[in-house]
């Protein structure tokens, strides 16, 4: 049995709109191994959230999902019926969302919402489920777990609620957890705690973790591997070291330039920025999607699809016309 928890090839999401079809996600290929954290980075609207929803088959009804292959622990779940998928969700694949304040049902207690998940996927009595829920709450660092079980979501702070969400996904010991910007809505100090918690849990449960974020700081802290997304495509992929030490794709480089580096960036020096805007993804698009904003742009960039090519190391890939040796090194 290999280490590969999740593998997806050529995932696309299209959304029919009034003025045309929005190609929100275009041929994304990813994989995550056991014990590995894959960070999907990108700005708002780049399609990272839709990608994660597509993996769980939780897209809104209008959206059309096209996938070449989708394997969970080397077994295909691509053509699973809704019933089969619902057996997988919350059980073998868990998901944590961005807004802890609204992700829990206000009408039911924490305990009720946790127990129902357990009893949906496991044959447990109410008492057994309550007990397991309590233990899991303690595991995520919630004290007075017994009381918390009887409380309602509105009685808990944002950080606590997010811990509860994490606990809920752990209940059935999943093989993969997808966390969609889990710390974005939280205070900076709580952010650090939650990220640390996720790392510890991943080690303990030996799971795969996909963490979606727009914050490079989070990536630096927690990622094993990184996939950079832009305008619905994966434009660069590699280990965390590779991406930070040697970014290849002009977009990734642009992102790195935006981060001030203590010690190197001079006071008063203008922060880097990427000029231009994300292009409209409605209708047919030819050429590189970053072309209009790229300072290395050439005629070849606008002709035809741009495939992912390997960088110097085989594990790093980037989507560009320019060869690795022609890429200028960025300071």
């Amino acid at each position: 049995m290999s280490n590969r928890v999740l593998s997806v090839e050529n995932l696309s999401v299209d959304i029919p709109l009034a003025d045309g079809v929005l190609h929100a996600v275009d041929n994304v290929t990813l994989h995550v191994d056991r014990g590995e954290t894959l960070c999907i980075v990108g700005e708002s609207g780049c399609g990272k959230s839709l990608t994660s929803l597509a993996l769980m088959d939780l897209l809104p009804k209008k959206a059309i999902r096209t996938i070449a292959s989708l394997d969970l622990n080397d077994a295909s779940i691509l053509n699973y019926s809704e019933k089969q998928m619902s057996d997988v969700r919350g059980n073998r694949m868990g998901m944590i969302f961005q807004e802890p304040m609204t992700s829990l049902n206000p009408a039911f207690t924490i305990g009720n919402q946790m127990v129902e998940t357990l009893r949906r996927h496991r044959k447990l009595s109410n008492a057994e489920a309550q007990d397991l829920a309590k233990q899991t709450l303690e595991k995520v660092g919630i004290t007075a777990a017994e009381q918390r079980l009887n409380q309602y979501p509105h009685q808990l702070s944002g950080g606590l609620r997010q811990r509860v969400m994490i606990a809920m996904t752990l209940l059935c010991e999943p093989e993969l957890i997808i966390a969609d910007e889990p710390t974005t809505a939280l205070d900076v100090t709580i952010q650090a705690q939650i990220l640390l918690l996720l790392q510890e849990l991943q080690a303990e449960y030996d799971m795969g973790l996909i963490l979606i974020t727009h914050d490079l700081g989070v990536v630096a802290r927690i990622a094993t591997r990184v996939a950079v997304m832009y305008a619905g495509q994966v434009v660069e992929q590699g280990t965390a070291e590779q991406i930070f030490e040697n970014p290849m794709h002009p977009y990734t480089r642009g992102l790195m330039r935006c981060i001030p580096v203590p010690g190197r960036t001079q006071p008063g020096e203008p922060l880097g920025s990427i000029p231009g805007m994300v292009p409209s993804l409605i209708g047919r698009f030819t050429g590189c999607r970053f072309a209009d904003r790229c300072d290395l742009v050439k005629d070849a960039c606008r002709k035809g699809d741009v495939p992912l090519r390997d960088a110097k190391g085989k594990t790093q890939g980037y989507r560009c016309v320019i060869e690795p040796r022609d890429m200028t090194k960025v300071a």
Binding site: P279, I282, F285, T286, R289, D292
Partner: protein, 296 residues
């Protein structure tokens, strides 16, 4: 140049959106057509009615409508128990329904709007008092009170309009209050006051225009409401008095004979139903087009 199929330019988008919304709303178009037709019929009643609605002809009592074998084109919709032409009564009845609907809605609209806007704009004590009054008004059974007052004062067109006008202001007040509250908290009112505009000026120039949309929708609802209430009151004998051709009264007068002369109640009933339906569709349509997020 990277190509992209869609070429939507900003200036056209608003109008396109509006056009698309109107086209999808056939209900509103149908409703408006019917309402305008009924309005025209009511206004042109003397020209359109083939007979005098009050003229009795005891030799031609209970003549069926033209589609029955015993009917004739002289009385297209037949006659009632006193030989009066039903089509003419129907046409003049439209006048009564519309007059009462619009009249009552006007009175209650003025009362309710003033109360609502005052409550929303001044807040505090004024708001408390107005809200209390609305609650009291809601707690009173409208039909019962209307019936009682009409019974005491005597039924007539004017009395019905007055009574309904004095009773149906609550929804106006509620909607106008919440609209005003919304607007009041917006920045441009604060800006106007900061520049020194007096309170009444701010009300007239900033608050009211933006509140007009909701007003139109509620007005249509209350017109329909008043029309149905008048019909019910007249049906019970405590609304418009005979021999006026109120549709509700026509149903009441016809109900004793409804088994053998069913047209006596179906015709005015259908007329009532269509008019109220049309008004509601129109109101729904106006709301959906200008502010679909306010649905319900």
């Amino acid at each position: 140049m990277a190509t992209s199929d869609s070429q939507t330019s900003a200036p056209n988008k608003g109008f396109d959106l509006l056009r698309r919304r109107v086209r999808g709303h056939q209900g509103m178009i149908i409703g408006s057509v019917i309402v305008v037709s009924v309005l025209l019929i009511a206004l042109l009643a003397p020209l359109l009615a083939p007979h005098d609605p009050y003229q009795q002809d005891l030799l031609k009592r209970l003549v069926p409508p033209v589609w029955d074998s015993r009917g004739s084109w002289e009385h297209v919709l037949g006659t009632d128990h006193l030989g009066r032409d039903y089509l003419s009564r129907l046409i003049y009845g439209a006048r009564i329904s519309l007059l009462i609907g619009i009249g009552a809605a006007l009175i209650s609209g003025i009362i309710g709007t003033i109360m609502g806007v005052m409550a929303g704009y001044f807040g505090g004590r004024v708001d408390m008092i107005v809200t209390f009054m609305i609650t009291v008004r809601l707690s009173m059974p409208v039909v019962l009170v209307a019936l009682a007052v009409v019974a005491i004062v005597g039924g007539s067109l004017q009395v019905v309009i007055a009574v309904l006008g004095l009773l149906l202001w609550d929804r106006f007040a509620v909607v106008m209050r919440s609209s005003t509250l919304q607007i009041r908290s917006m920045d441009y009112v604060a800006a106007a006051r900061a520049v020194g505009c007096s309170t009444s000026r701010v009300l007239m120039t900033e608050v009211m225009p933006n509140v007009v949309n909701n007003l139109i929708v509620i007005t249509t609802i209350e017109i329909a409401h008043a029309i149905i209430l008048e019909a019910a009151l007249s049906f019970l004998g405590l609304g418009v008095q005979p021999p006026m051709p109120s549709w509700g009264l026509m149903v009441s007068e016809g109900k004793d004979m409804m088994l053998f002369e069913p047209w006596l109640i179906t015709i005015p009933g259908v007329a009532l139903f269509l008019l109220v339906l049309a008004i509601n569709l129109m109101g729904d349509g106006v709301r959906d087009i200008t502010a679909p997020e306010n649905r319900n």
